[in-house]
Every structure is written in C-alpha cells, then in structure tokens.
Symmetry: C2
Subunit: 253 residues, 2 copies
DNA sequence: TGAGTGTCGGCTGTCAACAGTTTGCACAGT
DNA sequence: ACTGTGCAAACTGTTGACAGCCGACACTCA
C-alpha cells in the first residue's frame, strides 16, 4: 500500500519564521526563560542558526499573542507574572468559555459531552501514573474542546490566544499541591454540561478557575519569596529595571 | 501656564513599523483595498516611503489581527468577506460582550450607564446632521465601552481584535437602509443595562446584532451581484484564484 | 486548434550591513 | 565616599541585496 499523493496543505508549507515561532513559543510556555529575561535577537539568531529576520518575525508574533512584552528600542522580554495578570487571564477565560458553552449547547451537545467524558477518562489515567504534565495538557484540551464546539473560528482563535498565556500557568499548576482535585473537578464540570444547565456551569466554572487562581497566586508568592531579589515591578518607577540578559542557556536545540 | 514636563509614554515612543501598521489598518478598515487584492510589499514600501521591513511587520501584524490573509510564498491579501464570516464575527462579539456585561455590572454600573447615555446622545446629534460615519464610530464606542467596563486588559484586547474586523462592516452599515434604527436601538440597549438585567440585555444584544448581520449580508449580496465577476471562492479548487494585483491606487499619502 | 512544456518576470523569504539609541561603567569633581 | 558626567559597547530598528518559488506567457507538438 503506497502512500497516495496528496496536495500539500498550504498551511503546512511553512516558512522559517513560522517554525521559529512554534519552537520559541514552546520554550516560553514551558518556562525555559526566566521572567524578566530580555530575548536578544542576535543571540537567538545564533542559537537557532538563522538570521535575525525570522527571529524578529517570531518575537513580534509572540508579543501580539501576549506571551512576551515589548518596549521600543529596549527589546522584547519575558513578562513577570503579576497576581493581577493571573486574575485577569482567568477572568477572560471564564467570560469567553461561559459564553461559548451557551452557544455550544445549541449545537451538538451529545457529541461534546462524549468528548469531554473521554478527556476526563484520559485525565484519570494520567493521574494514575502521576503524569501531571499530561494532566495539564488534558486540562487545556477540555476547555478548548468546549469553545471549539461553538464552531466559531474567531472565538476559538481568541480563546486559544488566552489559553496560550495560561499555558505558562498550567505548567506551574502541575507542581502545586491540591492538583489531585483537578480530575474530579473536570469530571463534575463535564456532568454539569451533560445536564445542559448553562447557569450551573458558569457557577462551577467560576469556582473551578478561582481555585486555580488561588493556588497559582500562592505558588507565585512562594517563588517570589524564594528568589526575593527584587521587590517586583509594582513601584512603576520611571526606568527601574536594569537589563537582565541571559545567554538563554540550553534554549535552542 | 507652561506644559508640565511629563515622562514620555513608552507606547507613544513608537517605531516606524507601528506607524505603518496604524495607517495600513485604517486603509484596510475603510475598505480602500478591494477584497482579493494582494498587498505587495514593494509597492507599499514605495507608497509609504520606507523599506520593506516595517511594511512586512505591519502586514504580518494585520494578518494576526485577522484583517488580512496570508498564503506563504504567495503574498498577503485582503480577504473576501463571506456571509459565514459576518455571522461568525458577530457571533463572537455577542458572546464576548454578553459575558463582559455581567462582569461589568459587578463593578461600577452607574458610571457605565452614564457614559453609554452620553454616547447615545452624541449618536442622536450625529444622526441629526446625517453624519453616518460618526454614527458608526459611536456605535463602536458604545460596545467597546461595555467591554472596557470590565477593567480586564485581556478581554478588552480580544474584543478590540474582533471589533477591528467588524470595522470594515461598520462602514458598510453606514450606507445601508434602516440605519436610522441604530440610534434608537442603542438607546434601548443602554436603558436595559440601566435596569441591570443581564439576561434581558443578552437577548436584546442578540437581536440588535442579528439585525446588523442581516442587513450586511443583504448589502454584501447586492455588491456581489453588482460586480458579479467571479463566483466567489466557494469551490476550494487547488489553486483557483489568479493574482489580482492592484497598484493600490491612491492608497498612501 | 488545443494541450503540454519551457522560459521569463516578479515577488516573497531570508540574509547581511548601517545608523541611532540605550545601557553600563569608569572617571572626575565635590 | 558619593554624585554627576562622559564614553564605549551592544542592541534594536531600518535598509538594501540575493535566491528560490510562483504565476503568466509564448512556443512546440499532436
């Protein structure tokens, strides 16, 4: 059985810039750059083995996705996560996902619920083997599935954008105590959706996310205290923070 | 009274790329490029009087905002608006704005309502002098104000992104019959918000937007029939559409 | 006459180089 | 010792140039 000749997907026919974007996003999301680090174009260009052009394209894109922060003439850096940011991100997620569910239920609820239950089952399996990174992935998949059920490309794109920002947090959650509750919480969410009660889901989702936010903030505080080198961004002095450029270590490769 | 010395807003200290982005977005939004047009980098670079770098930055950004479409190695073009896109954009708006209001009402409803009433008043004035473009602007401001009332930077950014896409449509709406209803509709929306009934607002918003969608689709059909050169994109053949490059006319300047 | 093929022009993706700005450090002055 | 100034290095923003790819046209052959 030879593989049939298939036309190449235009989206697949990627450019160098796109590849760099994906890899860089992965690095940022998995927290391989310490918050506050300025991502120098030349350094990255050397590490990726390409010129500054594609690197620039990737950095600018990630800035627009909200994963990085840019200050003109100063560079692009990994943002320090403030407590207010965590609250905001999760608030935005709650708003969109809550609205999405109402739309989704008007479509094909049975298929949605089936998929969600399957995801929960996988979560349970991942939990059994203590694969918390997989649990985090499935957590994301769960919520994304709900928004995708609206069959609205825009809504999906927007949600993906916020989810991208939370991804950094997901990887933190995987290390927080109380993570065992994640599976049961999602199980309950799925069952509430099965009943078709949007309002109930909104309440449950709110609690679920608030739970995560609380844990994250505590975790963030703990990390801050551990490092405890700078008082952390709050003061808004004119030009406070000095450059903190790292060799980016073992980033590329 | 001399103007006090104030630190320069970093966001203000813009780059060439940012300026080009803004101008280009303005051109796209106001429909100065015909749908299907491929925006050549060199042509734009000459018109704006800069090199291809900043142009590229601007184009890529607008692509990510959803205003333009990119096909690798082929170029970046103005998308043809399909009826399904209009429905999707307005669906996304309805979802986000509906969710946003619930959050906003938990904050400072009085201030919000006051602002909305002021906007409606301005709308009435603009209508009186038949300034339909101003009406469209105020229409946007009205809805944006609601989302901004959530005080969530993320939500505001996401909504601004979809609003950007609708902007193209706003300028169409300003030319459609029935535009007189816009003012009264917004007046009603504001009053519903004053009552604090979120569900009622969601219903009203749905009708309001559905109204716009219907008018837009009719308008789009009319335009299509008027041009009636190509059957419009539907076939999804492998490499169907031929290049349609325009001198971009009197765009820049 | 029509289908298929070779060639040419144009454009994007990528690279390398230049100029202005910012940052960090050293030195002079108090 | 401490503050303020001047200098040098480094980096971003911007420019110009090059190569591969895509589309169109013309030519050949059946």
């Amino acid at each position: 059985m030879t593989t049939p000749i298939r036309p190449i997907d235009p989206a697949q026919r990627s450019t160098l810039g796109a590849m760099v974007t994906d890899q860089l996003r992965d690095h940022v999301i998995h927290g391989r750059f310490r918050p506050g680090t300025i991502l120098g174009e030349v350094v990255l260009a050397e590490q990726f083995g390409v010129s500054r052009g594609p690197i620039r394209e990737a950095l600018l894109r990630l800035v627009q996705e909200g994963l990085l922060r840019r200050e003109p003439r100063r560079g692009i850096s990994v943002p320090r996560l403030a407590a207010s940011d965590i609250v905001d991100v999760y608030g935005a997620r709650e708003a969109i996902e809550g609205a999405a569910l109402a739309v989704a239920l008007a479509g094909d609820p049975a298929s949605l619920v089936a998929d969600l239950r399957a995801i929960v089952a996988e979560m349970r399996a991942a939990e059994a083997r203590s694969d918390w990174l997989a649990v985090a992935d499935l957590d994301m998949a769960f919520h994304r599935r709900i928004v995708e059920a609206t069959e609205s490309p825009r809504l999906a794109r927007l949600y993906a954008s916020v989810l991208g920002e939370t991804l950094t947090y997901f990887n933190m959650i995987a290390r927080t105590p109380g993570r065992e509750r994640l599976v049961t919480e999602h199980h309950e969410l799925a069952e509430i959706i099965a009943t078709g009660d949007v309002e109930a889901y909104r309440r449950a989702l709110g609690e679920h996310l608030a739970d995560s936010v609380e844990r994250l903030i505590r975790q963030a505080r703990a990390q801050e205290a551990a490092h405890s080198d700078d008082a952390g961004e709050g003061g808004s002095r004119r030009r406070p923070r000095r450059r903190e450029r790292r060799p980016a270590a073992e980033a590329a490769r």
